[in-house]
Homo-oligomer: 357 residues x 2
């Protein structure tokens, strides 16, 4: 599996290389899947943070996009994107003022999982056009969200009772690998809402690990996925991707070979992040599949070559690492390289990176 030197020799390392053909195929595959199941696609841009890719996702048929930070949504709205779901509880004077400003530039939907958030949104949006609010539900993921469908109903009623807010449905970030639990939670919620006589226009589920089973969550009307655009080692492990559908590599240089079985790459936790996601090791080296990146310091990856049969990487050689988690990697780089047919076609500035709030 030789590295196409033509494409990479001019790049300084570490560098993020995006295979534009793989990315586009990934986007098309997810949209086709959603279309075939009558699900709306609402890609999460937290993975790529690039307006260009968000526009491509919409062009292919996505209903809108998802953002996790107001700053991300501001960048996307400024690029002309209209339908934005912000899947985060927004609190506090500064953020609410920014949210109000943002709502003037796009069709904004937000979430709430508690009364404090609802009160803040209501105070900020009273008197203006209604802000769409989804109630966030904890369908087993153990992060945010109301715990029971009955609580969701109570909060939905609070939303609809508040001036300036409109209850638009439910949102959940499901636990990985437990599609039945999510299906049952949202199914029960749907019945609870029907009994209460409250319409859920949207029931939004998400995630890439179980992306190809999204249709089994029968209550869901839309699916939010982020990682699927690039995929990564975690998604390969989850069975949602293959190495061939991984579209983001970190190009690195072998900078040291201190021992027969040790190599050191110039990409550490400041390039690959230290996300493990339940995996052993810190990435997959395409050219040396048996090598194990067993530890990272900030700017070095230490690789164990014990299991490598045959050739071992030489000092100065360049190798491509599929990271454990693509989303946190593109968040570390100010720019990423778009490659096609073995050539660098474009340098993308990761526009929505570093917008922490």
């Amino acid at each position: 599996m030789a590295l196409p030197q033509s494409a990479f020799s001019a790049l300084d390392t570490p560098a993020v290389c995006i295979d534009l053909d793989v990315v586009d195929a990934n986007l098309q595959r997810f949209q086709a899947y959603c279309d075939s199941h009558g699900l709306a696609a609402r890609p999460h841009i937290k993975t790529h943070k690039l307006p260009d890719f968000a526009h491509r996702q919409l062009e292919l048929g996505a209903k809108g996009i998802t953002c996790q930070k107001i700053g991300e949504a501001q960048v996307m709205a400024a690029s002309g994107i209209d339908d934005i779901l912000l899947t985060y509880n927004i609190l506090g004077e500064v953020k609410l003022a920014r949210l109000k400003e943002l709502a003037q530039h796009c069709r904004l939907t937000v979430v709430a999982d508690n009364q404090v958030v609802v009160d803040g949104l209501a105070e900020a949006f009273a008197g203006g056009p209604a802000l769409r609010v989804l109630v966030e539900c904890d369908s087993g993921g153990g992060r945010c969200g109301v715990q029971k469908p009955a609580e969701a109903v109570t909060l939905a009623q609070a939303v609809d009772g508040a001036q300036g807010l409109h209850f638009a449905g439910l949102m959940t970030y499901p636990p990985k690998g437990r599609i039945e639990v999510v299906r049952d939670w949202l199914g029960e919620a749907m019945h609870t809402f029907q009994r209460a006589g409250i319409e859920c226009e949207v029931i939004s589920s998400g995630g890439t690990p179980d992306i190809w089973r999204a249709h089994e969550v029968t209550a869901a009307t839309e699916h939010r996925a982020g990682t699927y655009i690039y995929n990564d080692r975690m998604m390969v492990r989850a069975g949602a991707a293959s190495w061939e559908t991984c579209g983001l590599d970190v190009l690195t240089t072998v900078v040291s070979r201190p021992t027969e079985t040790r190599a050191v790459l110039d990409a550490g936790s400041k390039a690959l992040s230290s996300d493990l996601g339940g995996l052993e090791g810190h990435g997959y080296i395409r050219e040396y599949p048996d090598a194990v990146i067993h530890s990272l310091s900030e700017e070095h990856a230490v690789v164990d070559l014990s299991a490598c049969t045959g050739a071992k990487p030489a000092i100065g050689e360049r190798v491509r690492v599929v990271p454990n988690h693509a989303c946190v990697v593109s968040n570390l780089f100010n720019s990423v390289h778009g490659l096609r047919d073995g050539k660098v076609e474009r340098l993308f500035t990761v526009e929505a990176r570093g917008l922490m709030q």
Copy 2:
């Protein structure tokens, strides 16, 4: 331990807050320690990435600074800093050209742990003023470095035999908590070099975990430390710092309280990083010392409050997190806030952040 609301209420979260008095006391303490032991201080700027702090380190008596990337060194040299040690094997045409350019603007020293790096440096610097090179030694850390003192001698001879290079001594990044091993390795190396009749002008050790035992590495002439400027939960665990000498907090907001024992903060792995450094949990919450940040997703921290007696954090409340690892946190934010006497005094742009190469 109440949060001084005056200082923080205007800040949007998550935000990095630097206590300028704590930082300055940390810088002074390390310099005084080095002075009292006749060790040169050569702070590593990878932690703060801020020219202002680097200049303060020099003003207090540091001999020079340490950088890990050419990009970091370029920023520091452009700010007027002269004596820079780049503790990284530099390889490849692009990087060597940048290194040559950098060497015109400062008194540069680099490292090498293998012949390929020496050959590259020699080719790039032949004919010009000599580039100072330290041979990197693996004194037990298991990252880069020659394995035995005899190998260091061989490489030193290769450096001195190369046109345009000058052998200036040894460098090691020591393993944590094993000061005797480092002492013995460098002690043996010193004797090996004496026997070979080669002078080591500099013997450079480093690290914050064992910072107050640096003088026990008797062969060392200088100590490189980075984290000590901010300290963090790893350094408290290592016994090198206390919560009072931790000068970098991530200010966060409690955005959800889904259950009696669960809180969610608006700082995830994109703000705190997922570095564990051998610890359980992802940071120390100053206001709730018994709370455990048990998992992170990209923009959320999930906190277990089971062990909290008394008050629990309310939705909307702001809390300060001392991160596990300060160096990777300041690498995630484009800017950090400098506070003094409970007031925000300055916003610093993290100038050398994101310079991956």
